[in-house]
Symmetry: C2
Subunit: 335 residues, 2 copies
Amino acid sequence: MITIAVDAMGGDQAPRPEVEGSVLAAREFGVRVMLVGRPDAIRAELARHAAPNLPIEVVEASEVITMEDHPAQAFRRKKNSSVHVAARLVHDGRADAMVSSGNTGAVMTTARFILGTLAAVDRLALAAPLPNAKGGVTVLLDVGANVDSKPEHLVQFAVMGEIYYRAAFGARRPRLGLLSIGEEEMKGNELTREVNNRLKNLPIHFIGNVEGGELFSGKVDVVVCDGFVGNIALKISESLAMEIFGLLKKALKSSISSQLGYLFSRKAFRGLKKHIDYSEYGGAPLLGVRGVCVIGHGRSDANAVKNAIRVAAGLTRAKINEKIEQELAAVPVSV
Amino acid sequence: MITIAVDAMGGDQAPRPEVEGSVLAAREFGVRVMLVGRPDAIRAELARHAAPNLPIEVVEASEVITMEDHPAQAFRRKKNSSVHVAARLVHDGRADAMVSSGNTGAVMTTARFILGTLAAVDRLALAAPLPNAKGGVTVLLDVGANVDSKPEHLVQFAVMGEIYYRAAFGARRPRLGLLSIGEEEMKGNELTREVNNRLKNLPIHFIGNVEGGELFSGKVDVVVCDGFVGNIALKISESLAMEIFGLLKKALKSSISSQLGYLFSRKAFRGLKKHIDYSEYGGAPLLGVRGVCVIGHGRSDANAVKNAIRVAAGLTRAKINEKIEQELAAVPVSV
């Protein structure tokens, strides 16, 4: 049985959604869950669910990393944090994968140092699954595990992202694009021109440069970029979607007739919100670590936690790391 | 009287919105307009408006640059294009400013070579005004006039963007932010760390690094980044907003009750669409050229063209280039 260590103290509402999501996952996916954090708080939440026979274990961690903590400092100073203990469980082989909705920087730093990096991997990459207009998912990576990446790093991100897409979304031959500012291969900056050149020679379905406008079009499955650009792209997308929904809500409350309109159309809104809701897509895996690490949004609800556990279990089952090692070993050092 | 040369052949629907927008602008803003392009097509459109006494002149240009044309090739080969002729009118002092909704790359290349660059400016910057959640405008620059910028270029973009914001949006002391991946000054890539350091020492209201999520929050007025990042940010924002509206429309047509809901709430939707509609904000000025050049969206309607002319006239009146020369001269070469 696959075992997932869940950081129960990570998200903004912790440990409530973490515990509920774990109960749902244990029930639906047949996985074992180790809930890591403050036992009293976790048990109080567990008591709210009828879950006596589920394979859920509570593992004590006395410290909590907050969203305000500095990642490297938190890693050094809070050795008993729930993130730290969850990573140790994976490192020691007691769990196959870890899931956290905590401080993304701290989770990445902790996973990088405690789990370590796969032999074939030079740099980890954080991969964000985003809903697209075709009703599918487009994965963007790296969204912030690195800044100032070199061409060979982006090539590795491409290979890892492609393997993740196959494992998580079932596409046999995902279309991979390089985020740039023009579709022609000579368009872009120094980095993308070099990376374009290298990706052309790999045995993947590389469709060339894609512009920012393609991220949500559904015409590409995996989009590769450096972590600086990817992080900005991700944050802009999240905030713009939130702002538009916020403005919409305000507009709909602005008159009696539009309020009435809202009553009639709210089912349609909910459907739309569900489609663009990050929580359906199961968090962002940190690719390239030994073991599996999936990072959820700080705002994760129980459904988001459940789906992150599903993805972590799926990547474990798919032996994603063996595939990464094999396929990266086949990439020429200088393509 | 301020004279604006309008590329009548640039946009996707040209010359209809260009002519209508020019008629509206001549009527409302007391500017003179030179409509540049194919005289027959322009006059046919002009005949649809009761505009015999307006200060509108038709200037012949026999060639048209399409969206598919390669910018540098179009510049070299189509010397009689409407973009080329409009730029010549500004260069020769017959017009104060040019407005085009054509191929952005071709307009930038043509303006750069024909108008030339201000003495104090090393690199031009394209500045995009974006609606924010507070009902105001946030300007993002550079959105694609350059790739691979150096720190001194971003410092110049900051100074130019700040002057443009004051001239176009009336803020006395706009808040300027540097687009990066963390608010602390040491966060970011090599480029942003160096630029942050230099901007701190300028006499502008620099609020430090801002993350992607702040672009639409209304907490910052001018956001500086390199052209690669800015172009991707702009295209993602445009396409995401379009996709959400598309999905919304689809969702609202999905049932009788939601269709009814739409009928009651469509005024609210229109208000929202107007708020996030690029056409209200008057196109993107190419900052740093001798003369004024405002580039509209290819999808520009008459209202967008009218507003682009308003902005071009306003920047001319505000003597934006004199201010750029003065203020850049005061920036230490190595801050």
